[in-house]
């Protein structure tokens, strides 16, 4: 009797231990798989890029603006126009969205009452939830004719249209990350400033913003990352024309749009196919650099707090 119940208890303990082990290892696998997938994907993209990379072609990519990867006469892989397109649209979008985003973040965090703040935050999150193809549609259908009507621009799908749409798309990120950074400034700073007789404007501009500057920098960089990586909206509203822009109203083509538009048709294993992966690798490197910079900036904030 006693021996039997002892054996049963032993078996139950073994079962419990086994179940524990099963659950623990499955959670472990899930955790590791995230890392494995990310690195497997990166390895795949870089591996596919390698055959396109020789010294001559890399030099051509950074010195020529002629992108004619499928030409039956002579294929050309100049990337300057694509780089210029991405840079022009991104820089202009940031010039629009960063000041607006910071101002909105400052208003939400320092100036408005609680009800307004809640409403604004919900609305901004809603803005972030609009799918990018819808933004592209808005740019194509609304901004394009509007721009031709309001200016002498020969066509309304161009750098400015792309930048406006990208700015609208990246503002929510800049605002929410920026607002977090402002909120992270300890209230003791605010109390001290007010006790010294600072006005609310002085408090915001002279105390809170300088204290949160690393977080704000991170917000801007994350906005840049969003803008560079965006594909379908810019494909629809920038005009998809291979040229180095000379004015805000010139159509351009970006790196991401080139991959999206051309990958489906290339023969697997052709130079064109691998060149598109090389562009993908370049985008990965740019994004990693931006994320690392943003991370370092945020880390800067925490160390700033400790001193």
């Amino acid at each position: 009797m006693n021996a039997a119940s002892g054996r049963r208890a032993h078996i139950l303990r073994r079962v419990a231990a086994l179940r524990e082990l099963a659950v623990e290892s499955s959670i472990r696998v899930c955790g590791w798989s995230a890392i494995v997938f990310v690195f497997a994907i990166l390895a795949f993209v870089f591996y596919q890029a390698v055959p396109a990379l020789d010294v001559g072609r890399v030099r051509e990519f950074f010195t020529s603006a002629a992108w004619r990867p499928d030409s039956v006469i002579r294929p050309q892989f100049g990337g300057l126009a694509l780089l210029a397109g991405t840079a022009a649209v991104t820089v202009l979008a940031m010039a629009l969205s960063v000041p607006a985003g910071f101002a909105a973040a400052l208003f939400i965090s320092e100036f408005c009452d609680r009800r307004t703040r809640e409403v604004l935050k919900v609305v901004i999150e809603l803005l972030a939830a609009i799918p990018s193809v819808v933004w592209g549609f808005v740019g194509y259908v609304v901004l394009n004719p509007l721009m031709m009507w309001a200016t002498d621009a020969p066509i309304g799908i161009n750098v400015l249209n792309g930048a406006l749409i990208l700015a609208l798309m990246s503002v929510p990120i800049v605002v929410s990350v920026g607002e977090d950074a402002l909120k992270a400034v300890p209230d003791s700073y605010r109390e001290a400033a007010l006790a010294l007789g600072a006005s609310r404007a002085q408090l915001a501009v002279r105390v809170v913003v300088p204290a949160a500057r690393n977080g704000l920098l991170a917000a801007a960089l994350l906005g840049v990352g969003r803008a560079i990586g965006e594909t379908i909206a810019v494909l629809m509203v920038t005009g998809h024309a291979v040229q180095i822009p000379h004015s805000l109203f010139d159509p351009v083509r970006t790196l991401t749009a080139t991959i999206a538009a051309e990958l489906g048709e290339t023969a697997q294993g052709s130079t064109h196919y691998h060149a598109l992966f090389a562009i993908g690798s370049l985008l990965v490197l740019i994004s990693v650099a931006i994320n690392v910079a943003a991370d370092l900036a945020v880390r800067g904030i925490r160390e700033g707090d400790r001193t």
């Binding site: 990310v38 994907i41 795949f44 993209v45 603006a65 002629a66 992108w67 004619r68 990867p69 499928d70 030409s71 039956v72 006469i73 126009a81 394009n144 004719p145 031709m148 002498d152 621009a153 020969p154 066509i155 309304g156 799908i157 990352g225 990586g229 965006e230 594909t231 005009g239 998809h240 024309a241 291979v242 040229q243 159509p251 083509r253 991401t256 991959i259 999206a260 538009a261 051309e262 990958l263 489906g264 048709e265 290339t266 023969a267 697997q268 993908g280 985008l283 990965v284 994004s287 990693v288 994320n291």
Partner: protein, 305 residues
């Protein structure tokens, strides 16, 4: 990072699907029980999507047991799909290149070519544009690399709807058969396109963009004409009045930029595919060609394979 990661995931998923689809499709063609619906997959030319769609719809009443699945994307996409075993028929708005023929033939029998329709490539401008006709050499100066024509005034017209006077060139993506054919027919074998044209992914998109843009000029299949755009007459020799794209002028060769539309199979097609293509080249299929806005081919010409 996110978009690149998404793209890579999508590619991995597609790759897996492609690997999975290949063998099972072949098995289907070989040992299919008579009762199940069989599928014919047609991929390729965007110019021909509407046409193939209509064929498929009408064919359903002829052979209810055969489902025709259609995808566009451009002639290049279709030929790639044929090579990879993802399509039974590639629709092509240009002839296959030797290189492509070799890729299709790789390890198996080469492609079979079927001429199924004629198409005239129309040149479109906004309907407010005063231009009515254009010479081939002017078109080449507008679209060709190093061409000097950049402004409407250089064609001796005042395009009032376009205050900047700049010609906005609208064209097709480089996967398109229309893109390749227009280059050959207008620019010749040795000349590239001028960079900076607005490259659209569909035939319809070209016409839609031109109809909204007074400064624009664009080329697309004549079947895509709408009341919002003007179709230009094309003159072989500068100064002559030119020829409008019509069924008659395309068929007798008066219109300078008319071409054949093809279907390609990889080697000898299966019976279902063979019957579908025969039906297309027969009177019922060719009647639909005319309805859609293309030009039917004379029965003697369809014997090309």
């Amino acid at each position: 990072v996110r978009s690149v990661v998404t793209l890579a995931v999508a590619m991995i998923v597609f790759g897996t699907l492609a690997c999975g689809a290949g063998p099972s499709a072949e098995m289907n063609a070989g040992g299919r029980p008579a009762a199940t619906r069989s599928a014919i997959r047609v991929t390729g030319s965007d110019t021909m999507v509407n046409l193939v769609q209509s064929w498929a719809e009408r064919y359903r009443s002829v052979r209810p047991d055969v489902a025709v699945q259609i995808a566009g994307g451009g002639t290049g996409v279709g030929i790639t799909a044929l090579v990879e075993g993802l399509a039974d028929i590639a629709a092509a708005s240009r002839e296959m290149t030797d290189d492509e023929r070799e890729r299709v033939a790789h390890g198996r029998s080469g492609p079979l070519e079927f001429t199924v329709a004629l198409d005239a490539l129309a040149v479109y401008v906004d309907r407010t544009n005063p231009l009515d006709a254009i010479a081939l050499e002017d078109l080449a100066e507008i679209y060709g690399d190093g061409g000097r024509i950049e402004r409407w005034s250089q064609l001796a017209i005042a395009n009032g709807g376009c205050p900047s006077d700049r010609i906005i060139r609208v064209g097709r993506q480089n996967s398109s058969g229309t893109y390749a054919y227009f280059r050959e027919a207008v620019l010749g074998h040795r000349r590239e396109y001028k960079l900076g044209s607005i490259d659209q992914s569909g035939s319809k998109d070209v016409v839609a963009l031109v109809s909204n843009t007074p400064c624009a000029i664009g080329y697309s299949g004549m079947a895509y004409a709408t009341p919002d755009v003007k179709v230009l007459r094309i003159a072989r020799i500068k100064g002559t009045s030119g020829v409008a794209p019509t069924a008659a002028s395309a068929a007798d060769g008066c219109y300078p930029i008319a071409r054949r539309l093809y279907l390609y199979t990889r080697g000898r097609p299966t019976d279902d595919v063979q019957q579908f293509i025969e039906w297309i080249r027969g009177p019922a299929g060719q009647a639909i060609v005319g309805e859609i806005g293309f030009v039917p081919v004379a029965s003697s010409e369809t014997e090309s394979p």
